[in-house]
């Protein structure tokens, strides 16, 4: 069982531009990824929105390997800004985990 963290969810909510709410879980993004990574944007974003920090962090290699090619984004039927969301997650993780300031 995973505890939903409303704190992380609330912090993510404050990030302008994170917009995975309209995702309807079709998986087009995953099918189109040219890196063929086992990266599931739909699952990753859902975990992020639920504030599941550990689950999100488990995908750090994939989050930072994303080419930001926007192949997924261009084909998303729900208009989710997938690449932009990836950048938002990178920012959040960089700020909170690596403290590069």
């Amino acid at each position: 069982m995973i505890r939903v963290s409303s704190d992380l969810a609330a912090r993510l909510k404050k990030e302008e531009g994170f917009n995975a709410g309209s995702c309807f879980h079709c998986g087009t993004c995953t099918a189109l990824c040219p890196l063929g990574y086992k990266i599931l944007p739909r699952k990753l974003f859902r975990e992020a929105m639920l504030g599941l920090g550990d689950e999100v962090r488990a995908s750090i290699p994939q989050i930072f390997s994303c080419l930001l090619c926007r192949m997924c984004e261009a084909n998303c039927p729900q208009g989710v800004r997938i690449a932009e969301n990836m950048r938002t997650l990178r920012c959040l993780i960089t700020r909170e985990d690596f403290d590069l300031t």
Binding site: M1, I2, V4, S6, A9, G21, S22, K43, R46, L50
Partner: protein, 583 residues
């Protein structure tokens, strides 16, 4: 062979539906030589325009005085051929329909000889019945241009205004102190941000200002007599004074009752577990940021389908299997209202919508889309494993398996858990005994035909409107209410109504007024009258449906149903027992 009657017998092939299994030509040939039959033929499709015209010509040319059509189910074409008989100058009630398709060819495929023999027998029975028919005239009833509307919610008031605009007089009765029903208690409504109390106030103003409408509150319908077009109704005002009104039709818009969760159902009974209506009151009635019992609210869980789409279980022996239609939209819309609140007070409130299937159909889809854009997170649970709500460290903990996260079990901490409770039938008590409107299995009032006659009931002259018929959102409720207005207006503006003459007849010489028929009649169509010095029963023909409960119960054998008289039934049995000798 002497012919008392001149009956035309027409046997239909129904394409091949009948003729593939029954030798229709043989049936016609056999019948052609029998008593009372003037002519017997077959038609490829008796219902086609060409065949009807041929039959009309023959009825006229050969001066037929009876008609037997052996074709499909009478449910399909009784009225087709009654109208045809009328056009041919024959009394429509001297036509008899024989069901040669559903009751013979479709059930006896593979044995043509036996099916043909049976076909001959049932057509013979039809001829025997037809030979004993006599012309009947529909009962023409004058209608009263006044309507009683039961219930002054939005559906009832909207109906009253529309009926008044037709020039009809309208009496609206409301059981409660205040008109307006549930809509007056809901605040903002989706999808177009209308305010419930404002909508009600606008309608109420129109009702009060219209010279044709009279509104009674604290008023209950306690008695009804009469029939379609001319009812006498008794209204009890404030539980003491009785008022008698004469109306031509009744529109019933008594609304619904919100589902009351069982103790412990989704945490019901725990502090912080509220219904959607209570949540909206908390949200809309407070001045500052949302709090519950003094504690600021940071996380809200919404649980959908509470009291709707239930399956039978030990805890729930009588499940509400229906979808309540309005709750997905109303709950998603509440999510957007919560988001507005969040922006207004600059506080983040997380909202988790725990749903089974989102049914925001048609234009309501925009409400769902907006809620998601506004930050509502939708988690889908499976009914085999519903969410559980527990108390933990002074807060609520909702455990749910999110099917979109691979059935991962999540625990969500919440300050409020909002149950989206559905609609259940309203308990109308004595009103049900007065109106006798049939109910469907779910307990709501039932229409005659779900698609083609969606607001009329089995009680002629009584229409149902709004959520008394089943769950509806407000727009649907008003649409059904205006449909009831259209049917009621069509009835009363015409000024008269023709009723089936196939009703009970009482032989006053045999009747001894034992009261049995009165007790058996579900339509209140029997009355006691004095016939000379003798008390006898009489039939209120306009209330009688000809369904016949009084006939076998009568110890004096004094009652017959026109069109199904004893002599006709005996003749049919005799005819169908004749030995079949195909021609």
């Amino acid at each position: 062979m002497t012919n008392k009657r001149r009956i035309g017998v027409y046997v239909c092939h129904c394409g091949g539906n009948i003729s593939d299994h029954v030798d229709v030509k043989d049936v016609a040939r056999t019948l052609a030589g029998e008593a009372d039959v003037e002519v017997a033929r077959t038609h490829l499709f008796a219902c086609s325009d060409a065949s009807q015209q041929e039959m009309i010509d023959e009825i006229k040319d050969r001066k037929l005085d009876g008609l037997v059509i052996a074709s499909c189910s009478p449910k399909l074409h009784t009225f087709t051929f009654r109208a045809m008989a009328q056009r041919a100058g024959l009394n429509p009630y001297q036509y008899v329909h024989v069901n040669l398709r559903e009751q013979c060819s479709w059930v006896h495929g593979g044995d043509k000889a036996a099916a043909t023999a049976k076909g001959i027998n049932i057509v013979r029975a039809g001829v025997a019945k037809c030979a004993l028919t006599h012309p009947l005239t529909p009962l023409r009833i004058e209608t009263q241009p006044r309507v009683l509307v039961v219930g002054a919610g939005v559906a009832g008031m909207r109906a009253a205004i529309a009926l008044a605009e037709m020039g009809l007089s309208v009496f609206v009765i409301e059981r409660e102190n205040e008109p307006g029903g549930w809509t007056s208690q809901v605040g903002w409504m989706g999808p177009d941000h209308q305010h419930g109390p404002e909508v009600v106030a606008k309608l109420l103003k129109e009702v009060k200002n219209h010279e044709n409408v009279v509104l009674y509150t604290n008023a209950e319908l306690t008695a009804k007599s009469g029939h379609i077009g001319d009812f006498t109704v008794t209204i009890r005002l404030c539980g003491e004074k009785d008022l008698t009104l004469n109306v031509g039709a009744i529109v019933v818009a008594t609304g619904f009752t919100p589902y009351e969760p069982r103790d412990g159902e989704y945490g019901w009974g725990l502090p912080g577990v509220v219904t959607l209506k209570e949540f909206r009151q908390l949200l809309e009635e407070g001045d500052g940021p949302l709090t519950y019992r003094g504690v600021p609210v940071r996380d809200v869980g919404f649980i959908y389908c509470v009291g709707s789409r239930q399956t039978e279980s030990e805890d729930c022996p009588e499940p509400n299997t229906h979808c309540s239609r309005f709750c997905c939209m109303a709950t998603a819309f509440s999510g957007s209202l919560l988001h507005e609140h969040e922006k207004k007070f600059g506080r983040t409130i997380n909202q988790y919508h725990l749903y089974r299937d989102v049914r925001t159909y048609g234009r309501l889809e925009t409400v769902y889309a907006k809620a998601r854009a506004d930050g509502a997170l939708f988690l889908r649970w499976d009914p085999s494993d519903p969410p559980r709500v527990e108390q933990r460290n002074g807060r609520l903990a909702v455990k749910v398996k999110d099917t979109l996260l691979g059935d991962e079990e999540l625990e969500i901490g919440a300050d409020l858990v909002v149950l989206a409770t559905g609609m259940v039938p309203r308990k109308n008590g004595a009103l049900d005994d007065v109106l006798k409107i049939p109910k469907s299995k779910d307990g709501f009032y039932n229409e005659i035909h779900i698609k083609l006659r969606p607001v009329e009931t089995a009680i002629d002259g009584v229409c149902i409107a709004g959520t008394s018929q089943g769950p509806k959102n407000l727009a649907e409720s008003v649409a059904s209410s205006l449909a009831a207005v259209a049917r009621t207006g069509a009835l009363l503006k015409k000024g008269y109504v023709d009723l089936e003459p196939l009703v009970a007849k009482i032989d006053t010489s045999k009747c001894v007024w034992c009261n049995e028929c009165l007790k058996a009649c579900p339509y209140g169509a029997i009355e006691r009258v004095l016939y000379g010095d003798k008390e006898v029963a009489t039939v209120i023909e306009s209330s009688c449906k000809g369904e016949g409960a009084c006939v076998p119960i009568c110890p004096q054998d004094a009652i017959v149903i026109e069109g199904y008289r004893d002599d006709q039934i005996v003749a049919m049995i005799d005819a169908s027992l004749k030995e079949t000798v195909p021609a």
